[in-house]
Amino acid sequence: MRNVLIICGKELRSYFVSPIAYLLLTMFAVIMGFFFWNALGYFVFMGIESQMRGEMFPMNVNEQVIRPLLSNMSVIGLFLIPMITMRLFAEEKRTGTIELLATSPVRDTEVILGKWLAAVTLYGCIILLTALNFVFLFRYGNPDWKPLAIGYLGLLLQAAALLAIGTFISTLTKNQIIAGAATFGVCLLLWVLEWVSGYESATWAQVLSYMSVITHFESFAKGVINTKDAVFYVTLTFLGLFFTARSMESLRWRS
């Protein structure tokens, strides 16, 4: 466990001494700020509209602002994943520092867990920054905090799974760009798989749609912890990390 933290600390350090971390933090904060502003503007507009018509629509900050925003975040998060994971192993392979890690008295699993943990932590920081937006809601409104917390938990679980896949892809190549592009492709695919459920309800479509990471986020966005969905993310995480470990091992036999 100590070794995991050592590796994790080193990874986090290199995220934060390079512009990567700040770039991602800023980008995500700006984009989500705009989404928030937009969602809130629409919410206020709807409120005034319904008052003018004299109809009382049920208005709910959780349902009409927080939930769509969380869904947006889960999709935009997909675009950040490759930028976080692409360098993890590819860079070490390119510069030869992988030899240092592989000949130090640490296990491969410790290296992998450390790197993955650093990626998850960075992602956690990124989404935490967007929580600033929601502070305004609590200041001027009265939303329920529990669905919001569950939504963030869902975001983190989803990212953990995708980051594990990204880590795996990063072990396959020496080239960061290739690692990033491939991870981006996989993330995108795991998102759009869900679309088939829109026009098809056969078993294969259900299976495909089940494999989509976005499908499993819906319950979290609603503020519900669905064990099925949590298990899906956790399983995907394990699978990703397991493949990473296999890939590291094969690296030794091949290199």
């Binding site: 070794n3 050592i6 350090r13 001494v17 390079s18 510069t95 030869g96 008295p105 030794r252 036999w253």
Partner: protein, 330 residues
């Protein structure tokens, strides 16, 4: 300390290391010598548990590289051909990180970082980014990284490659100063390096072991008889090379005189004397008494170069083959 038996590493298309066996005693510096692509790096990578062997066994300090890799790794310091530096780290940060990886803690860690900085003469770049260091400093930081946990065994892959002559000398001195506490294996394709720094030499070529012996033994094995270089100059004006040669041949104990070259009024000869007959004194007297000047008289030790060529055969010079094996071995 290191025990290698019938070690073999096969890749899909070629055999990088072919049934190599050797032993290294504690505290020795061993030169691992061979042309590019001979299998030096592969053997070292196996010893450091970076690569698993196809067959055969290798043990370091009594631990098998396949069975107990963690124990082996604790006892080994490794400097790969390219020093494994994180360019975005500062020297002291990097050494602290490596120290932690190797299991050092707290005050011991700080003390070791300072000690290796001192020892490798990198104190003045302690706060510099590794990416900004010159090649010589990088190499030294790489060496510092390898010795940070005071390992029993040091494995250095071409530690002087790419350095300038001054840096090469400094690095060699540093390596020599490390012997005793550490058992050192260093690979190189430079023969003088082995002559200067190592006690024992292991020569491999195309993955096969060619010779393993102490440097002294190897030199005397190839020497047989003593060879002296004699340069004779004319007192006033030209010197008659043929006459000098005839005179030298007459000296007792001399078995063969080879004319080497003639420059202006000086001629040089290689004189081989019979075993255990040191004819140097007689040679000098003969030259002087004949009225010539003796400009130079020195024994020519047989260099490892010659031994190496004798042992590996002339084909080591074939460049096409060299690059082919090197490319496949990487």
């Amino acid at each position: 300390m290191i025990n290698v038996k019938e070690l073999t590493k096969r890749y899909a298309r070629n055999t990088a290391v072919d049934h190599i066996s050797f032993q290294v005693e504690k505290g020795q510096i061993v030169g691992f010598l061979g042309p590019n692509g001979a299998g030096k790096t592969t053997t070292m990578r196996i010893l450091t548990c970076f690569l698993p062997p196809t067959s055969g066994t290798a043990t370091v300090a009594g631990f098998d590289v396949l069975e107990q890799p963690l124990e082996v790794k604790k006892r080994i310091g490794y400097l790969p051909e390219m020093p494994p530096l994180y360019v975005e780290m500062r020297t002291d940060e990097y050494l602290t990180f490596v120290g932690k990886l190797k299991g050092l803690r707290g005050s011991e860690l700080r003390q070791r970082v300072d000690a290796v900085c001192e020892r490798c003469a990198i104190v003045d770049v302690k706060k510099k980014l590794l990416g900004k260091l010159s090649k010589g400093y990088r190499q030294r930081v790489g060496l510092a990284q390898a010795i940070i946990h005071n390992p029993d065994v040091l494995i250095l892959d071409e530690p002087t490659a790419g350095l300038d002559p001054k840096q090469i000398n400094e690095t060699r001195d540093l390596i020599k100063s490390l012997a005793g506490d550490h058992t050192i294996i260093l690979s190189t394709h430079i023969l003088t390096e082995v002559e200067q720094t190592c006690q024992q030499v292991i020569i491999i070529n195309k993955g096969k072991l060619v010779a393993t012996d102490s440097v002294n033994n190897l030199q005397s094995r190839a020497r047989g008889a003593e060879t002296v270089l004699v340069e004779v100059g004319g007192r006033n004006g030209d010197v008659d090379s043929a006459a000098v040669q005839r005179r030298l041949e007459k000296v007792t104990g001399v078995s063969r005189v080879v004319f080497k070259e003639k420059r202006k009024n000086r001629s040089s000869f290689e004189v081989e004397s019979q075993k255990n007959r040191f004819a140097r004194g007689d040679l000098a007297r003969a030259v002087v008494e004949s009225g010539w000047d003796l400009n130079e008289l020195r024994p020519t030790a047989v260099s490892l170069e010659e031994i190496f060529l004798q042992l590996t055969g002339e084909q080591t010079a074939a460049p096409a083959e060299e690059t082919a094996t090197k490319g496949a071995g990487k």
